[in-house]
Every structure is written in structure tokens, then in C-alpha cells.
């Protein structure tokens, strides 16, 4: 990792923190993407504040594509991507958060539950990357 890469990581993180602050300021909502998605899918009353947030994410991606051209995508095969999505959806719903919900918003709130969740998903994620090296069927280069 270069120092430029680290600088961009911290700067990008600060923008994410600012976005989470604006979203929370508006009416107390937590800018955890899995929670926002849950609201958009399952809560009619939340849609006014959740759907535009998700649209904003996609528009940022479109702007990124216009500015940067092609971007790297996951190297996993379709079955791997399908399984991964299922686990991410189920896990974030049961665990009540993802990288942004627990890892950013929860830790910013000094939540003990979020600390435990964050350490847990980093641990199982690291274990998965380790195991995936040895399972050709799951191999993601």
C-alpha cells in the first residue's frame, strides 16, 4: 500500500463519516447500508428516506464510471457471487449491520455490540479468504 493509497482511504473515509453525519442529522437515521436497504425493502414508511439514499449510491457509481472508465469487479464465479450475496444479506439482517452500520456508525456511537460484530465479521472474512486459497471451487484470485 502506498501513502497515496492510505491518504485516499482516510479522505474517502472522512467523506463517508460526513455523509453518515448528514443523514443522521436529517432525522436521526443510521447510515448503515444494509439497514437502509432493509428499510427500502420492508418498511413502507421508511422509503422516503431510504430509497433516495440508495439511488445516491448508484448515481455515485455512475459518476465514477464516467470519470474513471472501467473499474475492477469481483473475480468470483457466478455461484460464488450468488452464495456470497445470500450470506451477506442473511448475515447483515440477523446481525443487524454491515461494515458501515456496525463498523462506522456503531463504532462511532461507542456501541459494544458493534465492536463485537465488527471484530467477528473481520475474523470470519479473514478466515474465508484463507480457506478460499485452498478450495479451488471457491477460489477468488
Amino acid at each position: 500500500m502506498t501513502s497515496v493509497e492510505l491518504g485516499r482511504a482516510v479522505l474517502g473515509g472522512a467523506l463517508i463519516g460526513a455523509a453518515a453525519t448528514v443523514y443522521w442529522r436529517a432525522d436521526g437515521r443510521v447510515a448503515g447500508v444494509s439497514g437502509v436497504l432493509r428499510g427500502a425493502l420492508l418498511s413502507r414508511s421508511d422509503r422516503r428516506a431510504t430509497v433516495p439514499f440508495l439511488v445516491g449510491l448508484v448515481v455515485a457509481g455512475l459518476a465514477g464510471a464516467a470519470a474513471m472508465g472501467t473499474s475492477p469487479t469481483s473475480a468470483g464465479g457466478l455461484p460464488t457471487l450468488g452464495l456470497a450475496g445470500l450470506l451477506v444479506g442473511l448475515g447483515t439482517r440477523l446481525g443487524g449491520g454491515c461494515t458501515s452500520g456496525h463498523g462506522v456508525c456503531g463504532l462511532s456511537r461507542l456501541s459494544r455490540r458493534s465492536l463485537v460484530a465488527t471484530l467477528t465479521f473481520i475474523a470470519t472474512g479473514a478466515l474465508t479468504v484463507l480457506v478460499a486459497r485452498w478450495l479451488p471451487g471457491l477460489r477468488v484470485p
Binding site: L6, A63, R109, T120
Partner: protein, 147 residues
């Protein structure tokens, strides 16, 4: 209308943050999880930057209101199991929900497969009775997130 615009702006800024930080690249995310290989700590830098800004904003709000972080919800098995399951999916693909949704605009490719099954996963989790805690009001800003 204002809610809609603020929410859109927040999502846009959030997505730009993910793009600037490089977290829309699943290889870089997996490199963060690859402790036994060529470890790339970028993701920790992103979290540090985000927590520095958002944590400070929340701390200032607590100070303004004169409240402490208050009682915390207890840990339970569902939290740990859910986080563990999420981590496996995250490690397999290198996508978590935010970057996956940004990728729909950035580099759609096959990410739609991930997104489709992710929605199915959310619905299955909901059918399994996952609770949805009330969203944080100012007096409860220390409560566990509901995301």
C-alpha cells in the same frame, strides 16, 4: 421533499467516499482480509477516517445535550452468528452492501447476481424474525445501530 434531497445527497456523498477510498474495488477489500498474504490495511484507514468525523459529530451532540452514552443493549448469539455469516460472504466476494450497490452504477458486470441473492438473504433473515430496533433518537444516540 427536503428529506428526499438530503437522503439522496447523503447517499451520493457516501458513494463518492467509497469511490475515493478505493473500497469499491473488491480485490482491495479482500486484501485487507488477507492477513496471511499481501495485507493491505486501506480498509482500516477508511474506518478510521469515517469514525473520526462521525464519532466527533456524535460526541459533540452528546456534549450539547449533556447525555452520556447510556446503557447498552446486551450481546446475544444472533448478533455474533449474523456477523459471522456476513463475514464469510464478504470474504468470498469482497463486496459488502455499500460497495455492491455503488458497483451497480460503476461496474455492473456480474454484481447483479450478488445483489439479487443479497436481497433474498435479507428477506430470509426477516422471515427468521430478525428484530428491528427503533432508530436512534437524540437521547439514545449511543444505542446499537439498526442497520
Amino acid at each position: 421533499m427536503r428529506t428526499t434531497l438530503t437522503a439522496f445527497g447523503s447517499g451520493l456523498l457516501f458513494g463518492v467516499g467509497l469511490l475515493v477510498s478505493g473500497m469499491t474495488d473488491p480485490h482491495r477489500v479482500r486484501a485487507f482480509l488477507d492477513f496471511a498474504g499481501r495485507w493491505n490495511p486501506s480498509l482500516a484507514g477508511v474506518m478510521a477516517g469515517a469514525i473520526a468525523v462521525h464519532g466527533t459529530a456524535l460526541w459533540l451532540e452528546r456534549r450539547r445535550l449533556g447525555v452520556s452514552i447510556g446503557a447498552q443493549a446486551p450481546l446475544d448469539a444472533r448478533l455474533v452468528i449474523g456477523a459471522a455469516v456476513f463475514g464469510v460472504g464478504w470474504g468470498l466476494a469482497g463486496y459488502c452492501p455499500g460497495p455492491a450497490i455503488v458497483s451497480l452504477g460503476l461496474a455492473p458486470g456480474r454484481v447483479w447476481v450478488f445483489l439479487s441473492t443479497m436481497v433474498v438473504g435479507v428477506l430470509i433473515g426477516d422471515a427468521m424474525g430478525a428484530r428491528h430496533a427503533p432508530r436512534g433518537a437524540p437521547s439514545t444516540i449511543a444505542q446499537a445501530p439498526t442497520c
